[in-house]
């Protein structure tokens, strides 16, 4: 039975609660708080992607586009029209949901690499639109002067405040995803991943589930995009390019495909590796990162979350 234990979730929440306090205490770790803000934003995307790819078995190389849609809806509506950021966030999620439903319906007739290419092409096209429609988006130089977030007088203007905002949302999304997986909907998802043939005989509407989960993951990505825009207070198209979509795949694979925990662990790890720890290697960074990735694929076929099982298995032998 797929059941998530409550203890690690409580431990995670506790860790997240004290993390910034520890980091402010140790000056060499101060930068880790802002790193964790980005890691949290990325976690929102990978939680959705993990459901889509790990459980529903559908590949997407285009999720940077939904991330971007959220960011640009927020950015454009606040900067050009002065709309309240929270409304923009909701608006972005709505737009992303509609786009996902529109693109999802024909895409999921495709299989394997064809689906990968279709989502990749979609992501590239959206990115070209961000770049070219400069009257709205600011073009390749980006859109600046995006306002920060405030909640009835409380400004999320420091890194720590934003940190808590982001991670509360991430935890909510995480719990939501866990609930889904432990529910009839999650059972249906896992079923169609294992055997579409059998799932059909159970009366499961496969197309509907695939699109539903695609829409859900797009909505989460869009929410992440809005948060990103209001934290950075600046966005530019290259943030939402193919490279980012690939980075999301790497996060999920490194963490462990069929595990929501894997999404969180992988995302935080890859964020720290690529944004901080590997900086040390300078021009060797790309080689080192590629090497780590390969080693992980070879020695951790189930990702980091598979590690305890693997060790336990070896111990028994």
């Amino acid at each position: 039975m797929l059941r998530f234990s409550k203890i690690p979730i409580v431990v995670l929440a506790g860790f997240l609660l004290i993390f910034p306090l520890v980091c402010t205490g140790i000056s060499a770790l101060h930068g880790y708080i802002s790193l964790m803000v980005f890691a949290g934003i990325y976690c929102l995307i990978t939680i959705g992607l993990s459901l889509l790819m790990g459980y529903a078995g559908q590949i997407s190389l285009g999720h940077a586009a939904f991330f971007g849609i959220g960011a640009y809806v927020s950015g454009i509506a606040t900067v050009r029209f002065g709309v309240n950021p929270w409304f923009c966030m909701a608006g972005g999620m709505l737009v992303a949901a509609m786009v996902a439903a529109l693109i999802g319906a024909p895409s999921f007739r495709l299989k394997g690499h064809y689906l990968a290419m279709a989502t990749l092409a979609f992501g590239l096209i959206v990115n070209i639109v961000f770049r070219e429609e400069s009257a709205w988006t600011g073009g390749p130089d980006g859109l600046s002067r995006i306002p920060g977030l405030r909640l009835s007088g409380f400004m999320f203007n420091s890194t720590i405040r934003f940190y808590y905002l982001v991670w509360v949302i991430v935890l909510a999304a995480f719990l939501f995803a866990i609930n889904v997986l432990q529910s009839p909907a999650g059972r249906a998802l896992r079923a169609l991943h294992t055997s579409e043939t059998a799932a059909k005989s159970m009366g499961i509407d496969i197309a509907r589930y695939k699109i539903m989960i695609f829409v859900f993951s797009a909505v989460l990505a869009s929410l992440a995009g809005s948060l990103y825009a209001h934290f950075m207070r600046f966005i530019n198209p290259s943030t939402f390019n193919l490279l980012f979509s690939i980075k999301l795949l790497i996060m999920i694979t490194l963490g462990g495909m069929q595990s929501l925990w894997g999404a969180i662990v992988g995302t935080v790890l890859v964020t720290f590796l690529s944004m901080e720890w590997l900086q040390f290697f300078q021009e060797y960074e790309s080689i080192v990162f590629g090497g780590i990735l390969l080693l992980a694929l070879i020695f951790l076929p189930e990702g980091l979350t598979g590690l305890p099982n693997m060790l336990a298995g070896r111990g028994k032998k």
């Binding site: 000056s27 930068g31 130089d141 944004m275 021009e283």
Partner: protein, 386 residues
């Protein structure tokens, strides 16, 4: 369990230990450059130049007896990374001021951080938006400066040259990166002032293999001149394609990004007769002896070639200017951010690589269009254009 815990602790300590920087009484300066990634042509010479200057100053005894500690981070041309590193420089490394980033978009991306933390930033990127707050009547942001000439100055230099030669109908083209977009914006914005009409505006990707289609379209529209705004291999390919199409009779202008002799070499003859606006540091030997910049540019070219065994690029000059302006400010102000800011703003008559800087509360770039000279490729070398 306790064994695991202690192992984990040890690992954590190892990671953090490498990060802790030694605490010495020095002036800490931060630098953010796109050393690798798509904008390495900017960030690489900028980083090398900044490091060279720090070495020179420290060898000469530092500033007011204090050594400079330069912390250089590579943003890889990525806005998120740039944002993170800027926060790290301010919050963790506690630097007095930062120079960079290399790219306009990234400079715009981190303005809020520097404004909020009240830390001076001297950008090495071109866009006028970096020093013009459009929500505040175009006034500069108090804490943000830049040393690169605005693209508008390069465009004005080109248009002035066109006006002199009676050119009124032009085609523009450029790559789809931020560099190309910024040039395109300025070219379009300033054209009416010079009575110039733009008949075509073509784009290509920075990684494209061939621009024949764009040029063919332009050829059909018979412009009197073509302006191309790009960097990297495409600015060379575009000249070759133009020659193949028999368009070498149409005057061809490149942006100041063309200012590297390697490009002339790579064009394999196709660059002959091409115009471009260049700053003094690209052409020290062409400057008359009376030119105020002759001495500093010649010295910089010599030092750079001696240290790095490669020809200098004009972009390194922006970092040279930023570093020296900051060092001068440190000399007068000492380790106090607000005083440093004021000292930079009061910099007058500073002779740099890219012009003579006169900052003021309403001008945080401090250059005029004289910062650029029109240069023509002649016999595989630069020559002043008539």
């Amino acid at each position: 369990m306790s064994k695991k815990m202690s192992l984990a602790m040890a690992a954590m300590l190892m990671i953090f230990g490498t990060l802790a920087s030694p605490c010495l009484a020095t002036y800490k300066i931060g630098a953010l450059f796109s050393v690798t990634g798509p904008y390495s042509f900017l960030g690489d010479p900028e980083k090398k130049t900044a490091e060279m200057i720090v070495d020179q100053v420290n060898q000469a005894g530092g500033i007011n007896g204090q050594k400079i500690e330069l912390i250089v981070y590579d943003d890889e041309g990525d806005a998120t990374k740039c944002n993170l590193l800027a926060r790290k420089l301010i919050q963790q490394d506690k630097v007095l001021a930062v120079i960079g980033p290399s790219v306009s978009g990234l400079s715009l991306a981190i303005i809020p951080i520097f404004e909020q933390s009240e830390t001076p930033l001297i950008s090495c990127a071109a866009s006028y938006k970096i020093v013009s707050d459009d929500q505040n009547g175009g006034k500069p942001y108090p804490w943000i400066f830049k040393t690169a000439q605005s693209d508008s100055l390069a465009v004005e230099a080109i248009y002035t040259h066109m006006q002199k030669h009676g050119i009124k109908k032009i085609a523009i083209m450029g790559d789809s990166s931020g560099y190309g977009a910024s040039g395109r914006e300025e070219l379009t914005r300033i054209a009416p002032k010079f009575g110039i009409t733009i008949v075509a505006d073509e784009k290509y990707d920075p990684k494209d293999t061939d621009m024949t289609a764009q040029l063919t379209k332009i050829k059909g529209l018979n412009p009197q001149a073509i302006v191309n705004w790009s960097v990297g291999p495409t600015q060379v390919t575009v000249m070759r394609n133009r020659r193949d199409l028999g368009m070498d009779k149409i005057p061809f202008y490149q942006s100041h990004g063309f200012g590297n002799k390697k490009n002339i070499e790579l064009a394999a003859g196709a660059a002959e007769g091409v115009y471009c606006p260049l700053g003094a540091c690209n052409i020290p030997d062409l400057l008359p002896a009376s030119n105020l910049q002759k001495a500093v540019t010649t010295q910089y070219e010599k030092d750079y070639a001696a240290k790095y065994k490669e020809p200098l690029s004009s972009f390194g000059g922006h970092s040279w200017d930023a570093m020296h302006i900051l060092i001068n400010a440190l000399k007068t102000a000492g380790p106090d951010k607000a005083k440093i800011r004021a000292a930079i703003e009061n910099t007058k008559g500073f002779v740099g690589q890219h012009g003579i800087f006169n900052f003021s509360p309403s001008d945080h770039n401090g250059l005029t269009k004289d910062a650029f000279m029109m240069v023509k490729v002649h016999n595989g070398n630069w020559a002043l254009a008539d």
